[in-house]
């Protein structure tokens, strides 16, 4: 597995785990969405995401032969461009979809911020998944 593919897996897993834990706690009702605990969980999830990604990226770099850690080659650049195009459209759709909660009775500002955060998380997951699929199938 190439270094870039490892990074895509790291992004996928860490975002799924960290954002997944946050949204599961919020939407299951475990934590009131408009409370200090929710804010602490959000910040904790973000810090956990950064620490996990930094740690796992270091591990991936150490376990990858030196030749595989250079700048992106042409195929990797193409995969990056295509996956980010897919991610861009996902983010556009998620952002446009914010119109719905904005105009729904009973939705407050925290809900809208959470939906926006969910849109970012989904588009990041889509980018990572697209990269993994393209690395697996050749481009």
């Amino acid at each position: 597995m190439s270094f870039r593919e490892k990074l895509a897996w790291i992004t996928l897993i860490t975002v799924l785990v960290c954002f997944g834990a946050y949204f599961a706690a919020i939407y299951s009702g475990l934590i009131a969405h408009y409370s200090p605990a929710a804010l602490h969980l959000a910040l904790g999830s973000l810090i956990a995401l950064i620490v996990a990604q930094a740690g796992l990226t270091t591990l991936a770099a150490v376990t990858t032969p030196k030749g595989g850690r250079g700048p992106r080659d042409e195929r990797e650049q193409m995969i990056q461009a295509r996956s980010h195009t897919i991610g861009y459209y996902t983010l556009m759709i998620a952002t446009a979809a914010l119109i719905i909660p904005t105009h729904t009775r009973g939705t407050d500002m925290v809900d809208i911020v959470n939906f926006a955060l969910l849109g970012i998380a989904i588009s990041t997951i889509v980018v990572a998944l697209a990269q993994i699929v393209m690395f697996r199938r050749g481009y």
Binding site: S2, E5, P65, G67, G68, D73, E74, R75, E76, F135, R137, G138, Y139
Partner: protein, 75 residues
């Protein structure tokens, strides 16, 4: 995924050149080993520059490495 309409002789040429490894070829043309594997398997079409670099490594012409497989709508 459909294979590209381009055949290549990279595997044969590698073995004819002292059983050159994919990693070695990758290093010499400045791409990853996975990219060489994808080109060899016909899953990825390299840029013209990379194609010329591969031919240069083996000391052959581009046509000796890559062949257009004219078939169906790709004729």
């Amino acid at each position: 995924m459909a294979k590209l309409p381009i055949a290549n002789q990279i595997r044969r040429l590698r073995f004819e050149h002292s059983e050159m490894t994919q990693s070695n070829l990758a290093e010499r043309i400045g791409v990853t080993r996975q990219t060489i594997a994808a080109i060899e398997a016909g899953k990825y079409g390299p840029s013209l520059e990379a194609a010329f670099r591969i031919a240069q490594v083996f000391g052959v012409s581009l046509e000796d490495v890559f062949q257009w497989e004219a078939s169906g709508r790709n004729k």
